[in-house]
Assembly symmetry: C2
Homo-oligomer: 667 residues x 2
């Protein structure tokens, strides 16, 4: 092995390259070797909390979303909330039940994007990829926004600063996840266990209390909920159906966790498919139970939550619009435990668990982006090249995109949900369609009876799942499009077009650069014309002359720009005095332009002998400080930049490092 580069320090290239090395290392951790990162997997005990957290954490905000919609019809609407919860839970279990059978295919291909890309073609794959990328951003945005609202419940002085808290959380999370999944694997179990234990205790005690009629009233139980004017008459017929459908659509956010696990199959230890399927079922069951339990206890304790605080009425007075409402889970916990230290512990564990939820996104986004980049659908910077974590660029872009989304939607979970659900359901529909198609093709070639029957069974199951997710997608699209889902449609559409444009760009270049001759190196340019740019005849120019002469070119000349007569005369005198054995060409520069005359001269020489090479030697100061550019012309760099656009011209930079005279002896 080559010795590890040290001394000059591992410099990360890519988006973060402009930070000073030390700051970068402090923020992003030490570099890691390729072998350390590739092929990282986690045992089930770490994988389940990390990748299941996204789905299970939905119970921190899904009850609120279900109830808020129903509350549009006033207190009367809220009584339906446990039944909508049951509907959502059944759908979730149905989808998981069918998705289990997809996991094998997903694991074999490498991820949802691969499955869709392989079976439905690269263009549909690009759409799936775009949708998944945006889903990952929304995963982080929703989790962090919800965490922020629990933080402000826990620490009321922060109430007015929800957006700031959310942004700071995103920044902190990004910096933690950049340090890698290994690190998360080590610390994930504790907050997950704490949250689950607390939740089991709250739900268990709460249900027992409610059986014995000992459950306290929730903090918001005293409010009467005034129907929103537009919805007040809608509790009959189609209006009722629409309201329930909308409420169901909001609850469907619990389904997003399915995708997170499915996309993280690669991180599970072998047998990957079985371990992932197990985690999927465990997550689905616990989410379903917890969701229904929370909604039941919310109903039993009289908890209410509304989209608009002015819907809350107490003693005939409506509350102010900015009256802060507690999340339903927090209300239930308070009704069960009373307002004491236990409630604080529970809220804190909820926050920690919500911050664990984006792990799947931070693991999935960079790998998906890297895969798409390797196939040419995303910029090459997303490929594993950074010397930090392999995927630091992807993680940083995810963080930045999340900050933008959080700011754009003011960390409002309700607003973000509208975008999130439709994106996830769209991706899931694509995956299931791809798996369905793949089954269909398999059946054609498998003729043995037993395997064929198993395949048919699998195909039916996938079909059921596909129908369920497509139906859910349609319901969500219809009920949410105007509420904000159009943003997702727009963003995913735009991203898809962008990936296709990028692919086209790379393909064009590949074709242009591909070598078509059989023996491309036969003909060499026969002659080399060297030119040495001489701004002043001092050490740097003398070195450039010496180096150029050392290469023994066919012809050589010095180039002097006549900007100032006196200076030009001085160079000529020194040229004679030093007996420089090279002819000197003086170029007129009536407009004092240090670049154009050189380019024009090079073009003339090229025109005279187009099959030769012109090498222009440019002496150049190397500046040490950022302020040096305020003290020196950078004509050398400018000439080099202009010559890059001339075909057949090589620009040889001969540097002179100022302030390092000992190193810079003229050889």
């Amino acid at each position: 092995m080559h010795p590890l580069p040290s001394g000059r320090g591992g410099v990360a290239y890519g988006i973060v390259q402009s930070l000073p090395t030390r700051t970068r290392r402090a923020l992003l951790g030490a570099p890691k070797e390729t072998e350390q990162i590739r092929g990282l997997t986690l045992p089930k005990r770490a994988a389940l909390p990390i990748f299941g957290a996204d789905g299970f954490s939905a119970i921190a905000y899904a009850p609120d979303e279900i109830m808020m919609v129903l509350a549009l019809a006033g207190s009367a609407g809220l009584v339906m909330s446990p039944w909508v919860g049951v509907g959502v839970a059944v759908t979730l279990l149905l989808v998981i039940g069918t998705y289990r059978y997809n996991i094998r295919d997903v694991a074999a291909s490498g991820g949802d994007y691969h499955v869709v890309s392989d079976r439905l073609g690269p263009r549909t794959g690009a759409a799936a990829g775009a949708s998944l990328l945006f889903d990952f951003v929304l995963t982080v945005a929703v989790s962090v926004s919800s965490a922020s609202s629990y933080v402000t419940t826990l620490i009321p002085v922060l109430a007015g600063h929800r957006v700031v808290v959310a942004v700071l959380l995103v920044v902190a999370l990004t910096l933690i996840y950049v340090r890698g999944l290994h690190f998360m694997g080590r610390i994930a179990l504790l907050p997950a266990l704490l949250f689950v234990l607390c939740l089991v205790a709250v739900l268990g005690i709460g249900i027992i209390e409610s059986w014995f009629g000992a459950l306290d009233a929730a903090p918001s139980a005293g409010f009467h909920v005034r129907p929103e004017t537009a919805e007040s008459n809608s509790l009959t017929g189609f209006g009722l159906l629409l309201l329930v459908a909308r409420s169901f659509s909001s609850g469907a956010v619990t389904l997003t966790g399915v995708e997170s696990v499915s996309n993280s199959v690669r991180f599970f230890r072998a047998p990957k498919a079985r371990n992932a399927a197990y985690s999927l079922v465990a997550m689905g069951l616990s989410t379903a139970v917890a969701l229904v339990g929370i909604l039941y206890l919310a109903d039993a304790s009289g908890a209410v939550v509304t989209l608009d605080s002015s819907q809350l009425v107490i003693n005939g007075h409506a509350m102010a619009e900015d009256y802060p409402q507690m999340p339903v889970l927090a209300q239930v916990a308070q009704a069960v435990t009373g307002h004491n230290i236990l409630l604080g512990v529970f809220l804190a564990s909820t926050v920690l668990f919500l911050l664990l939820a984006p792990a799947a996104a931070y693991a999935g986004f960079p790998i998906l982006a890297s895969t798409m980049a390797e196939k040419g659908y995303l910029p090459v910077h997303f490929r594993a090249r950074s010397n930090r974590s392999l995927y630091a660029n992807g993680e940083l872009v995810l963080g930045a995109a999340t900050v933008v989304v959080v700011l754009a939607f003011r960390a409002d979970v309700n607003d973000l949900i509208q975008l999130y659900v439709v994106g996830v359901l769209f991706s899931m529909s694509l995956t299931q369609a791809a798996v369905f198609l793949s089954r269909h093709q398999e059946i054609r070639v498998v003729l043995a009876r037993l395997p064929r029957r198993r395949l048919l069974r699998d195909q039916v199951v996938t079909m059921i799942g596909l129908v369920a997710t497509v139906l859910a997608t349609v319901v969500v699209l219809v009920t949410k499009l105007a509420q904000g889902a159009w943003v997702t449609v727009l963003v995913v559409g735009f991203l898809t077009l962008a990936t296709l444009a990028i692919k086209k760009h790379y393909t064009t270049i590949d074709q242009e650069l591909a070598v078509k001759q059989k023996n491309p190196l036969k003909a060499l340019p026969s002659r080399v014309h060297a030119m040495v740019v001489v701004p002043r005849l001092r050490k740097p120019a003398l070195r450039a002359l010496a180096y150029a002469r050392a290469t023994r070119p066919s012809t050589i000349e010095g180039l002097v720009l006549n900007v100032d007569e006196a200076e030009t005369r001085k160079i000529r005198q020194l040229w004679d005095k030093y007996e420089v054995p090279v002819p000197l060409t003086i170029l007129a520069s009536p407009f004092r332009d240090p670049v154009t005359p050189v380019v024009e001269h090079v073009r003339e020489v090229r025109k005279a002998s187009p099959r030769d090479v012109v090498i222009v030697y440019v002496p150049e100061y190397v500046l040490e400080h950022w302020w040096d550019k305020f003290l020196h012309h950078r004509s050398g760099s400018k000439i080099a930049a202009a010559l890059r656009r001339e075909p057949g011209v090589v620009t040889a930079m001969v540097p002179w490092r100022l302030g390092h005279e000992d190193e810079e002896k003229l050889s």
Copy 2:
């Protein structure tokens, strides 16, 4: 002559280089040839209005400044204003009378800075230069701020936007003056004539009216002026003296015009010294007469003006602090002409004339900066290199500095005056001291009786002028230091230290780069090691290999970075397939760093044979669009940047221009 560079368009290098060419040309005008600009002079009829405008335009604000200070003592203080005016006028004439004799020396040296630098040494010269540069900025700031207050008198809806108006005026002026003095010379006479004619009419008619008791009352004549509490008891003894001294100091702003003419000597047609001296006297006489006349009429018409509008009392009620007051000149004009269209014409001509006043600064600042840059006291960018006006960089920096000053002082003429007067008097004192010293040295060597007597007379006159300006400087410093003159002391002090530091920087580099050997080109490096960086074996790399081989180096090798095993294997296969007759070196890169392994390898080769040259050929895409950098790694540029810091290493960039395949045939 070489044909003029065209096609690629004259690209301006320097501070404005980042603007697109077309925008730049629209804003700054077409490029001008060096010969067109150097040696530009103006006939007296253009030079007098342009360079005299600064001094004469002071009558638009000097009366206000004199009266505001006296008004601190209430209505009783204001009666002294004509007498302070006479004091200022006498001082002005005295200084001009003596300065006439300096002009010859200034003209011979090239400007005030040169005189001081030649006679009092380069360090004092740097201080004089720094002071003059800051004076130029303040000249523009004061003129424009005063113009802005006339604009708001003329167009009352702009009253609250004085700062915005001033900034817009600076921007407009800068863009006009960048187009050159020629242009100003053609248009300057008209506004100057208009203003002078209007002023003569106003003063003439006003004085006749006042003799016959027919002068109307000024718009502010109804106000009683309440003394500022702190100053109310000061109308006796030392307090009175101090107040008059402060008022005089403010009036001394009329002296600033002397410096403007003196600094512009180079622009006068021959005989320069005589023409400039004539202009100086003409300007001084008319300024003195106008100042006294305006103050007399202000007194006669009962005009008042105060620093703080709440000093104005009518019927026992004080005015609000933000009550807008009219400039004294406008009040006098209204008293004489009545409030009609003539007043409007007069105010408009005053604005135009005030905008002519900064011409001396826009002409002087860039040339002074250029001179100081040539001597190494300012960054090289100020030297005449831009292909627009020779001095576009200086003009743009002047404009930018003025905007900063105007914003910092909210375009308040009263605040700016405090900074301005002290700076100008300091520079004038230095010039006079330099001339005095030069006379002293001349007298020592001249023994003939007649010339000696003339020299002695001149020396006495200069001495009188020197004493007058030094006394004025001391009075102004004492009375103004706390009012804001400390800013000037600080800025000029800082600028002086900065110029000295810059000089030191350039001197160090000059010494480092100076050639000390007698025959520096005798020893050439004996061997050339060529290395070709091969990121992928496609056309750009093949071209780099072909070019490197064409130069017939002593040794040659291809460098491949092993970031991805599969890709490295592919390059090796192609290497064999194409039968590349060059050995291939594979560098390990466990941290995926595309730069460090190359640098390490180059260092090893250098260590083995330190007196040879290493040329690293780097194939490089040339990107066409700004967004291309989001789609491509720029490893080539990064390698080049890192290699610039290695001594004895030449980096040869072999460009491949994407999308120009026809031009890019592999030769």
